[in-house]
Amino acid sequence: MPVPRAGRDVPSRRLLVPTRPLHIVMVGWEWPPSHTGGLGVHSFELCKELTKLGHRITFLTPFPGPFTPVPGVTFRYPGGPVGETQTVSPFPPAYWTGDTPDSPFWNATDGYNTWVAELSEAEGVDVVHVHDWFGTDGAAALAHRLRCPLVMTVHSTEYDRSLGHPWQHILEREERGIAAAARVIAVSRHLRHQLIERYHGDPRKVRVIYNAVRPSERLAQIDPHRRVVLFVGRLAAMKGVDTFLRAAGRVVPQFPDVLFVIAGEGSEYSRLLHLTAALGIGDQVMFLGKVSDEEREILLAGSSVFVLPSVVEPFGIAALEAMAAGVPVIISKTSGVAEITSGAFRVDFWDVDEFASRIAELLEYPTLRKAMGEQGRWEALREGWPERARETVSVYVESLRAGDSR
């Protein structure tokens, strides 16, 4: 049955509240509108809610914008204040790791970290909060210099992104960040466990705060004549898109009216295209490429089933977004989002036949589709970013009390 929401490691409902508004330096990566992954959305939603609670954010990013403005959030990036320069970014898309430490990318990463460490005009900072690996060294040095605690949120690990073939240089950055942080936030209990087991994170310091979604006005309008099975995500090996395609191959003979839509881009694209051809299902599979937030919402509104067959999925916010839109979801058992839902089908990531059967069952039985859609919507929206922001502030207060500023 469903894993209980609140565990020992999840912040208790009695959250800590600071005595005064905090100034947080957030060492980030992307920010909307130009983001490629969930991290940009996470930063945006979290910062928005933090400012509503009265806290002030200085958001650091290697990119020169544009930035969707949020009152209370100041953006800083190497090379000047907002809007002054329009330099071409030396950075490839997020999580891109196909480069060597001698390359321009690594020089740029180190440059970003140096800039973060030496950040000028940073006064009255209470907490330095860094996301994932790329800014950890700079963030740790900055926190040390400013004598304030470092909080690190881990959204995914190099082990997972590389499917067990990690890049040593990234691994080390992750390890250093986890060791330096006064508190570490993992986006699922599954991930927390990994941080403790593989990264030697101190269990007393690692907290779980789940991702959330914003309520969308657009409800899924299920049209029985236009049936879409949807995948949204990066076309990366860890996402298990080939399982999605192989399952589609099993479903299409019996459901000739169904369209399998893949929204996202990534390094696996050409391989997946070849697989589609090899499976002979080209006329029932559509690769949309990257979609905007609005396009994604429209897609969800017209979809019958959402599938997230990830081999590894620390959280899986795309599934939560589908649930919020009332679309029934099929997720792999290991995904973090599986910990907070009972209204989804949970399947072993390797079990193509089971994915295919679950897709077929949702296509075949409208009552099931409706019941799961309603349950998922309720589960996805009963708590949102405001709750997550309050949980995060509670971890800030913990980190301040720990007096662990390095």
């Binding site: 049955m1 209204g343 099931l368 309720w378």
Partner: protein, 397 residues
């Protein structure tokens, strides 16, 4: 005051994971090994020890007697998994102090399916009791203690002399649950009512450490029974109460053994089988115009047919039944009947909160109600195809 102790023995044929891709594969819907493994486990923890204690109590206390209902699906599984449990049951019945009740062979919702399904299943069960135990039941109990005026009329047509029902305030209208009643539309059918507070003290609360009466001793319980005014007190519960719902370490089996002895200390309190309890002076007529049950807070059929999933699955099963009847194939008919077993619908119960949800999850063998529904519908869809094939109806899709 007579105690009517009645214990219900049932195990469903649980489904295997029958995937949508398994349609047309000829695979069985039912997981024989898993069902037998479960049965063996319960036999070890509950059936054997509790039946042995009951046998001993019959031996030691000549006034002690009770009643059992044994479903056909239980018997089928016992035969394969633990034949000695059947031997124990036969030995108990041969004492003449253990009455057996009639019911549907498949513990099914066939009372909501067009005739003659209910009659057929009750008939099957009667034949099973005659063959296995040489028994001729006089009293009928419907699945999950379902009862209504219509069911009383059915019992009358089938020449039963009594039926069981829940002693629920909603139907008693101020009357006592321990008085004698007959069915208003069928006065020859006597009603035996479940005293739910006393039944649930044992069935649900016995091992609950948070209960202010914890721990419940046989002496205390016998005292409660003795101080209850009236003629009959119906203690109706699952047989699995003794060793399964409450594990042996809670002392439930000792409680069962000690009860006849404790009751003996109260003159005027005695035991009766259901067959004995329906004898006696004229009774008050009782009318129940809707179908009630013994489950959950509402005592209705909500536990089986309360949500869209359950209703949709049951409607689909009824519809498939038309083709199944026409197909006239014993195997197809048998599989359909196994799919009418009420447990399958119970697994599809959805509720976020409340005391009942815990009870439902305890009894479910699925990851979620959605899982239960999808699996059930796959089996039913396959069955429909088989029936259509047999009838020569072209299979669409």
């Amino acid at each position: 005051m007579k105690i009517v102790l009645y214990l219900h023995m049932h195990q469903p044929w649980r489904l295997a994971r029958f995937r949508y891709l398994d349609l047309g594969s000829g695979r069985s819907y039912f997981d024989l090994e898993r069902n037998l493994t479960i049965f063996r486990g319960i036999a070890e923890r509950c059936y054997r020890p509790a039946l042995d204690r009951l046998a001993q109590a019959l031996e030691e206390h000549s006034e002690f007697r009770f009643s059992l209902s044994i479903t056909g699906t239980f018997l089928e599984q016992a035969r394969l998994a633990a034949p000695d449990v059947l031997d124990r049951l036969r030995a108990l019945h041969s004492t003449g102090r253990v009455a057996l009740l009639a019911e549907t062979y498949y513990h099914s919702l066939s009372f909501l399916v067009p005739a003659p399904e209910l009659h057929d299943e009750v008939q099957m069960h009667r034949e099973m009791l005659r063959k296995e135990f040489g028994a001729t039941p006089k009293v009928l109990r419907m699945t999950e203690l379902a009862y209504s005026d219509d069911l009383a009329r059915f019992a009358e047509r089938e020449r039963f002399n009594g039926m069981l029902a829940e002693g629920w305030e909603g139907i008693l209208r101020g009357g006592s649950p321990t008085a004698r009643y007959c069915a208003a539309p069928a006065p020859t059918v006597m009603l035996l009512l479940r005293h739910y507070p006393l039944s649930d003290d044992v069935g649900f609360r016995f091992s609950s450490t948070g209960w202010n009466e914890f721990p419940l001793t046989a002496e205390k319980y016998a005292g409660w029974i003795a101080s209850t005014p009236g003629e009959l007190v119906g203690l109706f519960m699952d047989f699995e109460t003794f060793g399964e719902h409450h594990a042996a370490r809670t002392g439930i089996l000792e409680f069962l053994s000690a009860l006849p002895r404790a009751v003996r200390t109260h003159p005027g309190v005695d035991w009766a089988t259901v067959d004995e309890a329906i004898q006696g002076p004229p009774r008050e007529p009782l009318s129940v115009p809707y179908t009630m049950s013994w489950a959950d807070q509402n005592r209705d059929l909500g536990a089986w047919l309360g949500n869209d999933l359950q209703r949709s699955a049951f409607e689909a099963a009824k519809k498939v039944g038309l083709a199944v009847r026409q197909a006239n194939d014993p195997e197809i008919l048998m599989d359909w009947r196994k799919l009418l077993t009420s447990d399958h619908f119970y697994y599809m119960y959805v509720s976020g909160h409340g005391a009942d949800q815990g009870v439902h999850e305890y009894f479910s063998s699925y990851d979620s109600p959605y899982d239960a529904y999808a699996n059930y519908m796959n089996a039913l869809t396959d069955l429909r195809r088989r029936a259509h094939e047999r009838l020569g109806v072209p299979i669409l899709k």
